[in-house]
């Protein structure tokens, strides 16, 4: 039987635990993500350890597919400027078709990609962005995009849209080319997330429906995406391909990107 002094000591310790003046817990998520991303390049340069580290990295990326652990450890997965959040989608705001530029970001719901502001031409877009615009040459019948939108608030984001040949009102595929800078693209809780590669580089495959949110301080745009999306980076540019194709075909599209002909 426990003596009364020990019982009082237990009570005192529990009370001390409740009253303890802990320092405030720092927010470490961003720092951890930075450390997960940054050491890759430097460690890759360390000769004989490169292979071993790469193997561990690939394994860690593969293990992202373990849903309970992944969801608990990371609140989001990031590739380029795109973050995929493991949270319930926010409620859809009421429809507004304008794309306002305001000092205070206000979420705007765009029912279709074709209602984006900033429609332009390829030559005009190319003259306004610092990076070479790349276009896919697969599938062979794809041709040039039917619509080109340039969102250029701070840093440019290009949205290229191809329509079905026999259904000019139906979007066949869209490709976002997003320069680093102010843009942040998030999507809330896609049904499926899969790790893959494009040209040997880390890529993410997500399937909707999910809420896509794009913001840069002035804009905040929301769109419900029901299709499939492949996200990858090449140099400093983040690419986001939205399509009905399967993963294998989407990768072929992604790997077919080349300069405008």
């Amino acid at each position: 039987m426990k003596d009364s002094t020990l019982e009082r000591l237990e009570r005192n310790l529990k009370a001390a635990g409740r009253a303890f003046p802990y320092p405030s817990t720092p927010r470490i998520a961003d720092k951890v993500m930075m450390r997960l991303n940054q050491p890759v390049r430097s460690r890759l340069l360390r000769g004989r350890w490169a292979g071993a580290f790469l193997a561990i990295l690939i394994l860690a990326l593969t293990l992202i597919l373990v849903p309970p652990a992944r969801a608990a450890i990371l609140d989001f997965i990031q590739i380029g400027v795109v973050r995929i959040f493991q949270v319930q989608p926010a409620p859809i705001p009421t429809s507004q078709f304008q794309f306002p530029v305001t000092a205070t970001p206000k979420a705007t719901f765009v029912p279709s990609i074709l209602q984006l502001a900033g429609e332009t031409t390829l030559p005009d877009a190319q003259s306004k962005v610092d990076f070479p615009i790349l276009l896919p040459v697969y599938p062979p019948d794809l041709g040039q995009p039917d619509h080109i939108y340039l969102q250029n608030a701070g840093s440019p984001m290009l949205v290229l849209v191809w329509m079905e040949h026999d259904r000019p009102d139906k979007v066949r595929m869209s490709l976002d080319e997003i320069a680093p800078g102010g843009w942040a693209v998030g999507k809330s809780e896609p049904k499926l997330i899969e790790e893959t590669t494009v040209n040997g580089q880390h890529a993410i495959w997500a399937e909707g429906p999910y809420m896509l949110q794009i913001s840069n301080g002035n804009y905040e745009l929301k769109r419900l995406v029901s299709g499939r999306v492949l996200i990858w980076t090449q140099g400093e540019i983040t690419y986001r391909l939205e399509t009905d194709l399967d993963l294998e075909e989407a990768i072929k599209v992604a790997e077919s990107l080349g300069p405008i002909r």
């Binding site: 000591l9 817990t25 951890v32 860690a60």
Partner: protein, 165 residues
């Protein structure tokens, strides 16, 4: 991460007594967890596993010479004035003193006291963190409490009153 960072940070702080070190350990804990996900049984709760990683990292940090020199440098750099007695509540003072008393215990005793009482883990969770049986948790707690009582009686006279009826 948000759901577990507070418990991990607090345990690291209790074990190391320094918020910067505790933050380092917290970051390192999540990095280690990420890199060792394949070893984690997803059917089990995550918190005890994270706390075990944090405790091991804190233990290693405690033993490193680097930490000793780093703390010396920190004292030189900061020289912060500790809060006055008036600035701290009586409960704060008592809990801090109890913490100081716990720091006189051997490391395994400290860990079990922090987990069970300060972080308020159940006996089962404490057992999971320390990789020992629940019965062993109870016996080790009993031993730690006896040692702590002896420490209080010899070195912390102000806490003695709290033990008498």
């Amino acid at each position: 991460m948000l759901a577990y960072q507070e418990a991990v940070f607090r345990l690291a702080y209790l074990l190391l007594g320094d918020p910067d070190d505790a933050e380092d350990i917290t970051q390192e804990t999540f990095l280690r967890a990420w890199n060792n996900l394949r070893r984690f049984d997803s059917a089990r709760p995550l918190r005890p596993w994270l706390l075990r990683i944090a405790a091991n990292l804190a233990h290693n940090r405690h033993r490193s010479a680097g930490r000793y020199f780093a703390s010396l440098m920190k004292v030189f750099r900061q020289e912060k004035t500790p809060p006055t007695v008036e600035e701290r509540s009586a409960k704060d003072i008592e809990s801090q003193q109890l913490w100081r008393a716990v720091q006189h215990l051997p490391a395994p005793d400290q860990q079990i006291v922090y987990l069970r009482y300060f972080l308020d883990l159940s006996v089962a969770e404490t057992a999971d963190v320390m990789h020992i049986a629940e019965g062993t948790v109870k016996s080790r707690l009993n031993r730690a409490l006896n040692r702590l009582r002896a420490v209080i009686q010899s070195d912390f006279p102000s806490l003695k009153d709290g033990l008498s009826s």
